[in-house]
């Protein structure tokens, strides 16, 4: 229902993107400066693309070739700006009512009351933005954007103005509001967890281009390339060589070990032997073999290797271990080969603090190859 194709050249940056979105929440995800906000501004008519076409539900908002450029005020999009951009001289309820001018007084009053109630802002109607907390401001901004019943909601880094503990709570809040309202939305964020939590489909941006667009689960498990994996902040992105590839398995050599991985069922990838290949191992899927249960059984545990914990970091509920394998040669990532995440309880029970040498296994389904 939303189809976007844009080119915009700035003095030191070029945005050139094409993507589509259905009637759901779409996440634009990528590092800062990759053109996400500029895309929103183009959608909202606040920036003018040099070329391209924007169509929202059969309504052409912009078409460079046909000279169509619907002004911002007629696009009927709700825009929640980064930092919210609430009108500081208007109360919460006047902010919400701002986009309803021209409608009958009764309808305006009803609509404002409805929005205020649904967003849990009752009692704060007469407060000015400076007198509201970060979370309340976010809800006023949402209410202001939603009150005129926009066809599409645009959200730019909706949590950047909040501190970390509030973020998590508000992320759930926002996810619920988006679901309740059923409004299609485009959410810009540079935080993958946020994108994953809010969006059904994620478009990954890098340096003004789209590097992958996929449903969120597919993106999480099958980043299309090493670049995407790095933008997502996936640890343990590693390089090996192919030993043998079949439609459902890939064997690869890495740090003197032979690892067996599952080939992607949707995008079978058959590189010839000796091809360099990138892959990643999720740190929470590396298993430590318990020493009190006898030697590891290679028939049961696959991809066995041994190594030493060279550093561990306490993240509160989890520990992140940096492992150096026994294999000869320089480690794959600085001072270590693998990052492994274990729950706090496991760290305690296994006495990892004291006992540094471990055997590990990685299920083949947890090694993901990244097509070149």
């Amino acid at each position: 229902m939303l189809s976007v194709s844009l080119t915009k050249r700035l003095p030191d940056f070029t945005l050139d993107v094409t993507w589509d979105a259905a009637d759901v929440v779409t996440g634009l995800f990528g590092p800062s400066g990759s053109g996400k906000t500029l895309t929103l501004d183009c959608l909202a008519g606040l920036a003018r693309p040099d070329a391209g076409r924007i169509v929202l539900r059969d309504r052409v908002l912009f078409d460079a070739a046909r000279g169509i450029d619907v002004p911002s005020r007629d696009r009927r999009l709700g825009y929640v700006f980064q930092g919210y951009a609430l009108f500081p001289h208007l109360t919460a309820s006047d902010n919400v009512a701002y986009g309803l001018r021209g409608r009958p007084r009764d309808e305006r009053r009803r609509r404002v009351a409805d929005v205020i109630g649904r967003l849990g802002l009752s009692g704060l109607e007469q407060r000015y933005p400076a007198q509201l907390s970060g979370g309340e401001r976010q809800r006023v901004a949402l209410g202001r954007a939603l009150a005129p019943e926009p066809t599409l909601l645009l959200l730019d880094e909706p949590f950047s103005a909040l501190d970390l503990p509030r973020r998590r709570a508000l992320r759930d809040d926002l996810a619920r509001v988006l679901r309740d309202w059923g409004t299609a939305a485009v959410v810009v964020t540079h935080d993958f967890t946020e994108a994953y939590r809010l969006a059904d489909r994620i478009v990954v941006y890098e340096a003004g281009r789209v590097v992958q667009a996929a449903p969120r689960a597919e993106l999480l498990w099958q980043p299309a390339s090493e670049a995407v994996a790095r933008i997502m902040g996936i640890p343990n992105v590693l390089h090996g060589t192919v030993v043998k590839a079949t439609p459902d398995r890939i064997q690869l050599r890495w740090r003197d070990q032979i690892l067996e991985a599952v080939n992607s069922p949707t995008r079978s990838y058959l590189p010839p032997p000796e091809t360099p290949i990138a892959f990643f191992i999720r740190p929470e899927y590396v298993r430590l073999i318990r020493k009190d249960r006898g030697p590891a059984d290679p028939g049961h545990h696959m991809n066995l290797m041994t190594g030493v914990v060279v550093a561990d970091e306490d993240f509160g509920t989890t520990w992140l271990l940096r492992i150096r394998l026994d294999a000869p040669g320089p480690p794959a990532q600085g001072d270590h080969d693998l990052q492994v995440e274990v729950p706090h309880l496991v760290h305690e029970i296994l006495e990892i603090e004291r006992d540094r040498r471990w055997e590990f296994s990685i299920h083949r389904g947890s090694i993901h190859v990244l097509p070149a």
Binding site: D41, R73, D74, G78, F81, H89, Y98, R101, G102, R144
Partner: protein
């Protein structure tokens, strides 16, 4: 004693301030918010009244609006006489004070976050509506400060008014001109009274401005 000069000065500077606001605010907005060819030239032009000698400015104005001047002839044709009338004094005061208003208001408009205006546009408002509901309400302190400064400057104008409106007692003799005349005629008590009134008024206005501008939401 004759307080006509005080009354005339108040009327002239009020009228001049109104004119200054009407002309200056749109210019200040354009300078602060829009990019257009000749932007920098206009910005330089609006401050020239601050740096030109008042008599030079007054002379050019007189040439322009005098009976044989290009603007004067047009005005004459529709029955408006400017030179050597109170209207001339208003024009003189306006030209002398408009840079103060434009400078202050422009800074005020520039300080308004453009994202707020963008938000207003996405909420369906026209440029005109955005100005009245967002830009001006957020910049009014700066506009008011500029208007008060402009009023004080208009109230105190001497050179430009003398050139354009003359110093006709009971007709175009404003307070500063009257003080000068009293001093010339060695009527020191009269000069003293008028000078105190003028100084007092300006000080009171500026104090009041300070209070208003400090108001916050």
């Amino acid at each position: 004693m004759d307080l006509f000069p005080l009354r005339l000065s108040l009327e002239v500077s009020l009228a001049a301030t109104a004119l200054t606001l009407g002309l200056g605010v749109p210019v200040a907005w354009a300078l602060g918010r829009r990019a257009f060819p000749g932007h920098d030239l206009l910005a330089a032009l609006v401050v020239t009244p601050l740096v030109l000698p008042p008599t030079v400015l007054g002379y050019y104005l007189l040439v322009l609006v005098g009976a044989r001047g290009p603007v004067g002839r047009v005005l004459d044709a529709i029955g408006i006489e400017v030179a050597f009338t109170w209207k001339g004094a208003v024009l003189a005061a306006c030209v002398g004070s408009i840079p103060l208003l434009i400078r202050a208001a422009q800074a005020g408009f520039e300080a308004v976050d453009p994202r707020l205006e963008a938000a207003a546009r996405t909420l369906g408002r026209s440029e005109w509506s955005v100005f009245w509901s967002v830009t001006l309400p957020l910049a009014w302190r700066a506009v008011l400060a500029g208007a008060v400064l402009a009023f004080c400057r208009a109230f105190g104008d001497f050179g430009i008014t003398l050139m354009v409106a003359g110093s006709i007692p009971g007709k175009t003799q404003t307070l500063p001109l009257a003080i000068y005349d009293h001093v010339q005629a060695n009527q020191m008590p009269e000069a003293n009274t008028l000078a105190l009134l003028a100084a007092g008024l300006v000080v009171v206005l500026l104090l009041g401005l300070g209070r208003v501008v400090r108001l916050r939401y």
